[in-house]
Every structure is written in structure tokens, then in C-alpha cells.
């Protein structure tokens, strides 16, 4: 140590020779051996060291995923609103002359495909087509309550498949459809459900109807005493929506 006179230093070292008692030495060395003999737990310390960063990372991943999901969901709603606004009015709307199969398949998908078609300008068509708006009958509050959670989904689905109704049809059929639309689903149903061969249009309807509207239709058939047709409809419904919980009035 340069700050202490070297002669002092030498003298101090010569005079300073005390050491701890042997008993203290023995106690300390015994404690040290006991400690060294204990099993080490390096894995646990590594886990403890990485636990906090791993938790933070997992939280971040979940948060980012949720943010993406929410962001993806929001434009879909906006596009639904766009579909509403841009939906052609019943008077005369140019409809696409013919749909390519791939385009039709895309339209069958709710959400993204429907968005694209809604945003893209409709190609000019030779004949104007009257669009029949899909009207889902409002279910009774008591019946609607169990399916309240599914209602927004059904509504969206109905909106997404609405463009199918714009498919080109012969003029007479278009007029008939227009009449049916004007009279409501209830007025068109008796003619459509006249026989078994008429189930095909019904099947087409299942694609456009919400489950609630369909169940209401079945309920109406039962009320009118048309048990056979109601049973057929119910069977169709079960095929289409196997997981759907049926209300009690339908099961009776």
C-alpha cells in the first residue's frame, strides 16, 4: 500500500500474527462442509430466473392476439353496414348476368368474401332484377331468449348470404319472387310447401333463413295443423343445425 510507509507496513506484519482459535476454525469448516454437501438446485434457479420474462412474453402474445382479433372483427361489422347501405333498392338494380362458379363459392362464405363482393362494383347486366329482401320474422321474446347469444351470428349470416338472392332468374320467376317478398314469407309458404317435390325451394330457403326464422316457420306449420310438413321441416332443420337447442314448443 503506497499510502502507508513501507517500514510501518513491514513492522506491522512482523508484529501482527494473531489467528482465530482452533475451535472457531473447526466450527466454520464444519459449517462449510455441511453447506457443500447439500444438493444443488440449478434447474429451479434457472426457472425462477426465466419465470418473470416468460410470463411477460406470454401476456404480450395474448394481448397482441386479442388486438388482432378485435381489429379483424371490426372491419367485418363496418362492411356489413356498407352492405346495408349499398344494397340495391327493390325497384331496379342491375344484377350480374352470370356468376362464375368460383365467385359463387366465395359468396357462400360469410365475412371476407361477402365484403369483397359488396365493395366491388356490380357488373352491368342486361335485365334488371328485383331483389327480395330477406325478412326474418321476429321471434317471440320468450322463444328468442335462449338463442339471444346466437342472434347476432344469425343476423350476420343472413346478411352475408343475401347476395345470393340476386342470382339471375327468369322474368316470371323474378316477378313471382317479388310478389312473394311483397307479401312476406308467410304468404309464399303455402304454395311452396304443397308437396314433397317442393322441398327443393325450401332447402334453398334454409340457406338464406336464420335458424330463428326457420323455427318460427315450423312453429307456424304446427299451429296450422300441418304436422307432416312441420316434421319434414324439423328434420331438415336438424340436418342443417344439428347442435341447435330446439325450443319446447317445437318439440311438442
Amino acid at each position: 500500500m503506497s499510502d502507508i510507509d513501507s517500514k510501518f507496513s513491514r513492522l506491522y506484519r512482523e508484529a501482527s500474527t494473531e489467528v482465530p482459535p482452533a475451535a472457531v476454525d473447526a466450527a466454520i469448516l464444519a459449517a462449510a462442509r455441511r453447506q457443500a454437501a447439500q444438493p444443488r438446485r440449478p434447474a429451479r434457479s434457472a426457472w425462477v430466473r426465466w419465470m418473470a420474462p416468460a410470463s411477460a412474453l406470454a401476456t404480450l402474445v395474448v394481448a397482441v392476439s386479442l388486438a388482432f382479433l378485435v381489429e379483424r372483427e371490426q372491419p367485418a361489422r363496418t362492411d356489413d353496414a356498407v352492405i346495408h347501405r349499398t344494397r340495391p333498392r327493390p325497384e331496379s338494380v342491375p344484377a350480374p348476368a352470370a356468376e362464375e362458379p368460383s365467385k359463387a363459392a366465395r359468396r357462400a362464405l360469410p365475412g371476407a368474401a361477402a365484403k369483397k363482393d359488396a365493395q366491388a362494383p356490380a357488373p352491368a347486366a342486361p335485365a334488371p332484377v328485383i331483389v327480395a329482401p330477406v325478412q326474418a320474422p321476429t321471434p317471440h321474446p320468450a322463444e328468442a331468449a335462449p338463442f339471444a347469444a346466437e342472434a347476432p351470428f344469425a343476423e350476420r349470416r343472413a346478411k352475408a348470404v343475401a347476395p345470393r338472392m340476386v342470382a339471375p332468374k327468369p322474368a316470371a320467376e323474378v316477378n313471382a319472387a317479388g310478389d312473394a317478398a311483397a307479401g312476406g314469407t308467410g304468404a309464399a309458404a303455402p304454395a311452396a310447401l304443397a308437396g314433397a317435390s317442393k322441398l327443393a325451394p325450401l332447402r334453398q330457403q334454409t340457406a338464406t333463413r336464420s335458424p330463428e326464422a326457420w323455427l318460427e316457420e315450423i312453429s307456424r306449420l304446427k299451429r296450422e295443423g300441418r304436422e307432416q310438413e312441420a316434421a319434414e321441416q324439423l328434420a331438415e332443420f336438424r340436418k342443417a343445425y344439428p347442435a341447435y337447442a330446439l325450443p319446447e314448443n317445437i318439440l311438442k
Binding site: 499510502d3 502507508i4 459449517a31 453447506q35
Partner: protein, 180 residues
């Protein structure tokens, strides 16, 4: 210490053999009582053993060891109601007179006896130093620490330590004046 942390018991024995004397004398000089020095010394080494599992070499081992010792000593002094004294006697700091003890190589029996007496006088003079000056001296002599390391252990600045050492040396020289 790293080897001992990793489970090598013999590494601690080597470490202990190297530091048992300096640390014990540090406490002995600071307490002036062998019983208290034993207790403090044992307590510090028990702490070293307990801390071995999480030991990370952030400083020289001696610095780490004497920092534990310094903190333990301060605790001991607080318990016993003793405050470390940092007194600076006036007019003693600038004495640069040479101190010339008899050389050990001229070890005639009468010279040998004289050196032993001189050593005892030095210990007595050291014992009369203010606590902080004595501590600086002991950390330098027993721990072999640099000014920066002593400052780190004591929690003060480098210049303060330099000043304490200068005053300590001056006072020791004055006490041993009669041996010139």
C-alpha cells in the same frame, strides 16, 4: 469462491486458510477484545457460507469479504452504543519525518528483542487511532485493498480514505518518535 459455490468443499478450505488471519486481526484490532473478535469473525464466515449459493463475482473476493466484515462491525458498534470516531488531531497531518525502525535482517538477539518491543508499541499506537483511521490502515494492511476498494468497503470517497491513511501514518510516526 465460485468453486465452492459449485459444490467444491476443498475450495472453501483454501479460501479460509488465506483469509482467516487477516480477517481475525481486523476484528481483533477494531474490538480490542478477543472474545468479541471470535464472535464477529465466526459470524462473518457463516454469512460467507450462507451467501455462497448466490455468489456472483462483482468485486474482488477480499473487497466482498471485508465489506461484510465492515457492516458487521458497524452493527456491533451500534449494539454496544459505540460510535466510530473520526477525529483529526490538529497539527499532526504534515509530519513527514522519516521513521526508521531497526531492520530485521540485522537480527542480533538484542535487536530482535528491540523489534518485538517496537511491534508492541506500534500495536498500542494503532489502538489509539480513531476508529475510521485504524480501519483504513487495517483494510490496507490486512486486506491488501487499494484506496478505491477501501473507499468502496467504507462507503466514502477515495480522497477521504487517502486523508485518513495519511493522518493515521502521521500519528503512528509521532507515537513511535521515541524509537528513532
Amino acid at each position: 469462491m465460485l468453486a465452492y459455490r459449485d459444490g467444491e468443499g476443498a475450495a472453501f478450505e483454501a479460501l479460509y486458510a488465506r483469509w482467516r488471519g487477516p480477517l481475525y486481526r481486523y476484528f481483533l484490532r477494531q474490538c480490542g477484545h478477543a472474545g468479541q473478535a471470535d464472535e464477529l469473525f465466526q459470524d462473518v464466515f457463516m454469512r460467507v457460507i450462507g451467501a455462497a449459493a448466490n455468489y456472483e463475482p462483482t468485486a474482488k473476493f477480499a473487497t466482498w469479504l471485508f465489506r461484510i466484515a465492515h457492516n458487521r462491525l458497524i452493527d456491533h458498534w451500534r449494539k454496544t452504543g459505540r460510535e466510530p470516531v473520526d477525529a483529526f488531531a490538529s497539527g499532526e497531518g504534515d509530519d513527514d519525518g522519516e521513521f526508521d525502525p531497526p531492520a530485521p535482517e540485522n537480527a542480533a538477539p538484542e535487536r530482535e528483542a528491540e523489534r518485538r518491543e517496537l511491534g508492541a508499541a506500534l500495536m498500542a499506537a494503532l489502538n489509539e487511532l480513531p476508529d475510521v483511521q485504524r480501519e483504513a490502515f487495517l483494510l490496507a494492511e490486512e486486506g491488501g485493498l487499494t484506496l478505491e476498494e477501501i473507499a468502496s468497503v467504507s462507503g466514502v470517497g477515495r480522497e477521504t480514505i487517502k486523508s485518513r491513511l495519511r493522518y493515521a501514518t502521521a500519528k503512528l510516526r509521532l507515537k513511535l518518535e521515541s524509537w528513532r
